[in-house]
Symmetry: C2
Subunit: 312 residues, 2 copies
């Protein structure tokens, strides 16, 4: 049994197709066929059920592939150890970011990061929290930036910052004349929400729920981006909530529409999250340092109350 064979098995399990798996491994398909056969012969079990299309894992196969993931992860950590020894911070690093953090945070730290760590090849993807969790678990992402806490066993969290919710109250709205907003002022029924799948949406719902148990979700106007929420709000379709960093992008003439919460302001916790195996920890540390250094200048709030990003 070799590490190479295990990597092949992982690739086949992932793509459910010898040919595609072979491409990803940069070898030919017969190589995979013979190597997997050797592995199966040596262990004297069938790992892949080639009868089914697409290929399926057998019961043992699933367990073996799970364990193969562990072994390959542990093996990759050897390179981590060497990098750490040499003070080398580099290599490919796949980072996921949730949509409501991406447009505001990324421009703030990216330039800075690639200047400081030019050898790191960052591959950044915008993904929902759910997608992020599966991809960190299966090893397709090295880390991600998401709202926390997530209560996920396989994943560790390291807080980057707390981002208060800010109300966006259009002209003629019932809350227009209030200088600061309280959570009890909120009414889910005149709140513009992001569409399903965004954890910021869940955060807002949790916040409103904290004062109103029953939520009638018959009609709500929903949108895919915070930009659109602001426009809809300007059309008089209701108020909305924004993450603080987004308010820095609001056009100056719309600034009068913003209302901060009375302290302790509701806020979301934004963290860098990663697999519990702590692979590539040097790069995760580097990201953490750069981002929390930058954010220190942008967010000064102390007294906040964290709202869970999880749907209830």
């Amino acid at each position: 049994m070799t590490i190479t064979q295990l990597k092949y098995a992982l690739s086949i399990a992932e793509h459910k197709n010898f040919t595609k798996a072979a491409e990803k491994c940069f070898v030919t398909q017969p190589t995979l066929s013979t190597q997997i056969q050797k592995l199966e012969d040596e262990l004297d079990v069938v790992i892949f059920d080639r009868g089914k299309k697409p290929i399926e894992l057998t019961e043992v196969g699933r367990k073996i592939v799970f364990q193969a993931r562990n072994i390959v992860n542990e093996a990759e950590r050897i390179q981590d150890i060497v990098d750490q020894q040499k003070g080398f911070i580099g290599g490919e690093f796949r980072l996921g970011i949730i949509p409501t953090v991406m447009p505001t945070l990324l421009p703030m730290f990216l330039q800075n990061f690639i200047k400081k760590y030019p050898k790191v090849k960052l591959k950044i993807e915008e993904l929902t929290t759910e997608e992020i969790l599966t991809r960190i678990s299966d090893g397709h992402l090295d880390a991600a930036i998401a709202a926390t806490p997530l209560e996920s066993d396989n994943i560790k969290e390291r807080v980057l910052y707390y981002e208060p919710f800010v109300a966006y109250v259009p002209n003629n709205h019932r809350l227009r004349d209030k200088k600061t907003i309280e959570v009890s002022d909120l009414d889910i029924d005149d709140m513009l929400l992001l569409e399903d799948g965004h954890c910021f949406r869940d955060g807002v719902i949790n916040l409103c729920k904290s004062f109103k148990d029953q939520i009638d979700d018959s009609f709500q106007l929903e949108s895919g981006s915070i930009e659109t929420l602001i426009k809809l709000s300007n059309e008089g379709l209701g108020m909305t909530l924004l993450p603080y960093l987004h308010t820095l992008d609001v056009k100056e003439k719309l600034n009068p529409n913003l209302r901060h919460f009375k302290e302790p302001s509701p806020a979301r916790e934004v963290s860098i999250i990663y697999h519990k195996s702590e692979l590539k920890m040097q790069i995760i540390d580097a990201l953490h340092n750069v981002i929390s250094g930058i954010i220190r200048g942008a967010i000064a709030f102390q007294n906040v109350e964290i709202i869970s990003p999880l749907p209830k």
Copy 2:
């Protein structure tokens, strides 16, 4: 990097000598030399400092060898998975047993176990608790039977039975006329103890200490075996304490010397202990089942108070 190379590195780290390591790996010394060189070239670090005699690990080398142990352990677990799938319980299994458990417990379960699991090749060694702990940690033992709790991070415990302490009171001893003994009756100064390194000795000391803080260890008669303790006691050199199972071996005419404790009787907890990685768990389960099944017929005590086996 191959699993084989990592195994070679582990062997060299253990024996601090290429030649001996090669023998243990059943290959020639040049094989190790070249494979380790390849590994070092690939990682571009030096793992072994051949300058020192005996060979030493470099700083990175230590970390790499530690991680290699993890990888090799995880790799061996693949075979475990396969065995589990096939219901196969077999292969070599190295079991350590502490001296005060060995002579009484082993004869009780060994025949039974090898009849039930003939494919398991048990290699049993009598070892002190301390030796057991290091050997489980470094992978030289698969499991052991010892007095617990041990409070060791790397090691898991599964209780087999509770074995009460029984007093052995010779003729003309001050406690001779008592039908049941109490802990407060004990005096460390007329107690015959096993020599240093036995955890049963530490158990007895802890028990006596529970009523007497200061222990004057100026003169105590000590011995390497419980058989000898009994003989010394018969010579009028003091009383002693025996683990319950040993009292079943005491000759009939000496039975009148035995005194049980008033309930709750002090007792030691005897467990099967193993590495937290839970390798070969099927065999550990099998041992646990056989032993606790057998012991159920021999020890019926319920109301006991566990005495720590650790030196304080």
